[in-house]
Amino acid sequence: AQSVTQLDSQVPVFEEAPVELRCNYSSSVSVYLFWYVQYPNQGLQLLLKYLSGSTLVKGINGFEAEFNKSQTSFHLRKPSVHISDTAEYFCAVSKGTSYDKVIFGPGTSLSVIP
């Protein structure tokens, strides 16, 4: 069965500094990987996804993530964060077959400090 680990439950970072949110997964089969963001008091929004092809994936709001199969990681990065990036970020995985359930990590709370 797949599982997702997000090593950092909380990440404080100063405005305009770079940030990396870590995500590792375990699966014996090929997977699809996702990052979702949840702004305060809102639902979830897809940031980016990796299905196949280039291992560097670019998403919305200046975020990008890199799929590393050997390290089973899919870390999320942004070179310069804004106050508006303060939110909860969830890494997720589903098996690389049709119609499999999406499993989420525990989430990382990103706090951008002015």
Binding site: G43, S98, Y99, K101, I103, G105, P106, G107
Partner: protein, 110 residues
């Protein structure tokens, strides 16, 4: 385009009372549907998923149940709520490459 509706948006219920949260999906047929719970300060926990009418898989044993009476309707229920049932409940629909979430129901059990 696909949309997911959930209601109610917020709910305050006493311990021991019943629960019924409804989710409907538009713009697709035979979707995979899910119920997730997000407890305060915690991540998303998959509660139930359904691949078709009457087909429910439970991920976590608890006092909640789910039903799918119609193709695009998914209901989360409880006969007697516990304090620990408080949280943010999200209905979701998935395709091969992403999950689409409803707006959520914030449940407070008092």
């Amino acid at each position: 385009s696909q949309t997911i509706h959930q209601w109610p948006a917020t709910l305050v219920q006493p311990v021991g009372s019943p629960l019924s949260l409804e989710c409907t999906v538009e713009g697709t047929s035979n979707p995979n549907l899910y119920w997730y719970r997000q407890a305060a300060g915690r991540g998303l926990q998959l509660l139930f998923y359904s691949v078709g009418i009457g087909q429910i898989s439970s991920e976590v044993p608890q006092n909640l149940s789910a039903s799918r009476p119609q193709d695009r309707q998914f209901i989360l229920s409880s006969k007697k709520l516990l304090l620990s049932d408080s949280g943010f409940y999200l209905c979701a629909w998935s395709t091969l490459d992403r999950a689409l979430f409803g707006p959520g129901t914030r449940l407070t059990v008092t």
